[in-house]
Amino acid sequence: MTMSRAQPKYPLILERGALFCPAGGFYIDPLRVVDRAIVTHGHSDHCRPGHGKVLATAATLAIARARYGERAFGAAQALAYGERLKIGDATVMLAPAGHVLGSAQVVVEVDGVRAVVSGDYKRTADPTCQPFEAIRCDLFITEATFAIPVFRHPPVEDEIARLLASVQAFPERAHAISVYPLGKCQRLIAELGRSGWGGPIVLHSGLVKLTELYQQLGVTLPEWRAAAAGKWDAAARDSLRGAIVLAPGSALSDKWARRLPDPVMCGASGWMTVRQRAKQSGVELPLIISDHADWDAICATIRETEAEMVWITHGAEEALAHWCQTQGVQAAPLSIAGRSDAEPG
């Protein structure tokens, strides 16, 4: 697509591989260090340390400080959901995206034209974050991680039920779920609580800090414990029989997993939908639990925004662009640097 810098039609343009608002002089989720950035959420492919000034929700800022340290940014400003802020000639608002705690869509208005950057989002309920709010706009910039019609995520309750059925079938084994430390981990703990699971929930040490932060930020989680540090004796190993163990994928695919008692390796992501791919990832129990919108949800969201133009980022752009065209909506793939489908889904 061609975009004239002098007179852009929409409040946002693509500037050196990142979304930029000329009227406000800020970037959204830039991967390289910039003076002014608005950050949608705390995942590392959206939130990078080193920017001069950063605007985000208070929760996202707290998460960034936990990951990158107090001096992650030159200056940080928190903006609550629904609050409006004037930056240069642009008006900015954040709206819940339902992806992880603190995740936001960025609403940018310039001269009565409104653009919404979805960030990563999902439409299904998540006890650890506020639900997505669809906002009418002229330009909707959507993520497209699962924008192929084969991805239709089942209800999370069904997937948790499958997990618990497996735990019941193999009480002598540990169930080890590979999770991303921010979001997926805490959502699974909360969903286990909601399911009434009363057995032990054990966290790899790499997941403890952000989980404690979630609780400090007011998210209610059932009881969990951290896995013992150092060398384990037989009793420590036996204590994990029948337990649900959460750990980063890197720990489960490496030596750490050997200490678990005959673990059932579980995956928890949207990628688990396609069996042969899930099988290749080495899991024994695939759980389709995703923090991204599935095909139906992406299509429904685009309709709800009533946008005339949709820009599609990171994911399966072609299929969604085709669908938009069949719906009479203009669409264009947008190639943002540093995003790929290697992202946890």
Binding site: I148, V150, R152, P154, V274, R275, G282, E284, L285, A316
Partner: protein, 559 residues
């Protein structure tokens, strides 16, 4: 249907054979007739629905889903059955209570014709959630592809029966199998202890084959085998101490496919070792079964009296139907070495000596062009046989020893038949890549690619990959190898690591053949680790020329 779909899902992800067996047993125990019988038929490949084709399914989907979106989806998923199952529009009527039972689905599928198949399949797909849709599509198009062969399913049946105190050995199930029909209710009644063994006519059924044990296992202890202390002179000494040569017949061990050829009461069948009927792939041989009885022997490809490389047998085995060109170029041949039934007389209770004599008479009367008898090797002492084995035209897999007084029993009875394979070839290779293993080995780098030196175009020496091995090391050695790989990684490609070319492994393999598709130009058959040469510098590993020289030493032939 839900239970069957759940079973398929867990089987896909079950990490090993034992886990699959466990899940199959649970399914057979918990599922009522006739559903479990239909599931068994599906695993055994006994359900054939020629009127439902992949193209028909594709057309059904494209009538419901934008064909462009379908194409993007198919490109992404890479499997038609799974794409159809995932992309099929979910209807609101998918209440669990409405989901059809497996038997109802099968009843409908069995009525399929070219004309009614599309609406029937569409209606079934409309009433199922995605995992059941996948199960349905796989049932319809054949080939469940969940890593369960007919044999594994029958093994699960046998183990399940044992858990119910019913003695139903795998061999007995296989023997009865071809006299039974889906959904196998009399079989399940027997296995569950509710009824006696089903009464079936076994004359034209598969007879479980008698298999040999490796002679090394009889002569060496487990520790010696692991430490690889087998040596031909020592083997001869031990044979002399333990076995009387006069009690054994010796034959060559052919490099073909073991088959059982049945021609009884006008019914002709050709069974592989696993009890699969492979007659359709070998019509030329089936035509030649002009006798009344059952032969046990080796299926080979023979042209003008010369046995062709094993690969040609494999090629024919891979074709469901052999075309005229293949039939002409790779004619099938049976080299018989046992007679299980002659006329109406079951020979299996006779000693080998009697069967052998009868066999020679029997085959004389049969078609001379397609069938012959595997000759006996005359020998007086083990040392003499060892010499014959070593000096043989090096185109046989080794020798077989059979007790003269042994009766024919299915399975692998101890002390009856021994295989004394040729010593493997070996080469010193350099470890190049390591890949994570599967199941219990998934945290170890346990799959190894290795190479040998060759001269590159510019004259420098480089390492060319020649094979991949996963076995031949002890658990302790695996732990040490894993540590070595982690400490010597130079590059990562997903689950694969390239390592510093510094570790030499002595690799054993059965044979080596030219393979123009590979960079090194050769391919090893069944490579495995023999020894890890922690001490040997990589520079001293073998050259590609040394490997190529071994091609002549052991051509891939069966006679």
């Amino acid at each position: 249907m839900k239970r069957f779909a759940d079973l398929l899902t867990t089987l896909i992800f079950a990490p090993g054979r034992n886990e699959k067996l466990r899940r199959l047993q649970r399914y057979f125990a918990q599922t009522p007739d006739p559903d479990r019988g239909w599931a068994l038929a599906a695993f055994a490949g006994e359900i054939s629905l020629p009127s439902a084709t992949p193209a028909m399914l594709r057309a059904l989907v494209e009538a419901r889903v934008d064909p462009v979106l379908f194409r993007y989806s198919y490109d992404y998923v890479g499997d038609l059955a799974e794409t159809v199952a995932l992309i099929w529009p979910s209807s609101s009527c998918c209440e669990p209570k409405d989901a059809p039972r497996l038997r109802d689905v099968i009843d409908k599928l069995l009525t399929l014709s070219r004309t009614n198949a599309p609406p029937i399949l569409a209606d079934l797909l409309d009433h199922m959630p995605p995992d059941q849709r996948l199960a349905l599509v796989k049932l319809t198009t054949g080939g469940l592809r969940v890593g369960v062969s007919a044999r594994i399913a029958k093994t699960a049946l046998s183990e399940w029966a044992a858990s119910r105190a019913v003695n139903a050995p795998l061999e007995r199930i296989e023997e009865l199998w071809h006299g039974l029909e889906p959904p196998y209710e009399p079989l399940f009644a027997w296995l569950s202890g509710a009824a006696p063994e089903p009464d079936v006519d076994l004359a034209t059924s598969f007879r479980p084959m008698m298999l040999a044990n490796a002679i090394d296992g009889a002569l060496y202890g487990a520790d010696e085998l692991r430490a690889d202390q087998i040596a031909a002179p020592e083997t001869i000494v031990r044979l002399q101490q333990r076995l009387d040569p006069a009690e054994f017949a010796a034959e060559w061990k052919w490099d073909g496919v073991r088959v059982q050829a049945i021609s009884v009461n006008g019914v002709r069948r050709l069974f592989s070792r696993s009890g699969d009927d492979i007659a359709a792939a070998f019509p030329d041989l089936v035509d030649a079964l002009e006798f009344e009885g059952v032969l046990d022997g080796e299926l080979l490809v023979v042209r003008d009296g010369v046995v062709a490389p094993f690969a040609e047998v494999q090629k024919r085995l891979g074709r469901k139907k052999a075309g005229p060109k293949l039939l002409r170029e790779s004619p099938a041949f049976l080299r018989a070495y046992d007679l299980l039934r002659a006329g109406s007389h079951d020979m299996r209770g006779e000693p080998f000596r009697v069967r052998r004599e009868a066999l020679e008479m029997f085959v004389q009367g049969a078609d001379g062009g397609r069938i012959d008898v595997s000759p006996l090797i005359a020998f007086d002492s083990w040392a003499e046989l060892a010499t014959l084995r070593a000096d043989a035209t090096t185109d046989k897999e080794g020798v077989m020893l059979k007790r003269w007084d042994g009766v024919y029993v299915g399975g692998r009875p101890m002390g009856q038949w021994w295989k004394w394979k040729r010593d493997p070839l070996t080469a010193d290779c350099v470890l190049l890549y390591a890949q994570r293993g599967h199941g219990g080995r998934s945290s170890y780098f346990s799959d190894y690619t290795f190479g040998v030196w060759r001269r590159a175009a510019d004259g420098t020496r480089e390492l060319a990959p020649v094979g991949k091995a996963y076995s031949g090391f002890t658990d302790q050695e695996l732990t040490r190898l894993d540590q070595w790989v982690r400490a010597n990684t130079v590059e990562r490609y997903g689950p694969v690591r390239a390592v510093k070319p510094a570790l030499v492994v002595e690799v054993a393999f059965d044979s080596i053949q030219p393979s123009p598709r590979r960079k090194a130009g050769v391919a090893m058959r069944f490579p495995r680790f023999k020894r890890i040469r922690w001490d040997k510098p990589a520079q001293e590993a073998d050259q590609i020329e040394q490997l190529k020289a071994l091609i002549g030493a052991r051509p891939e032939q069966g006679a």
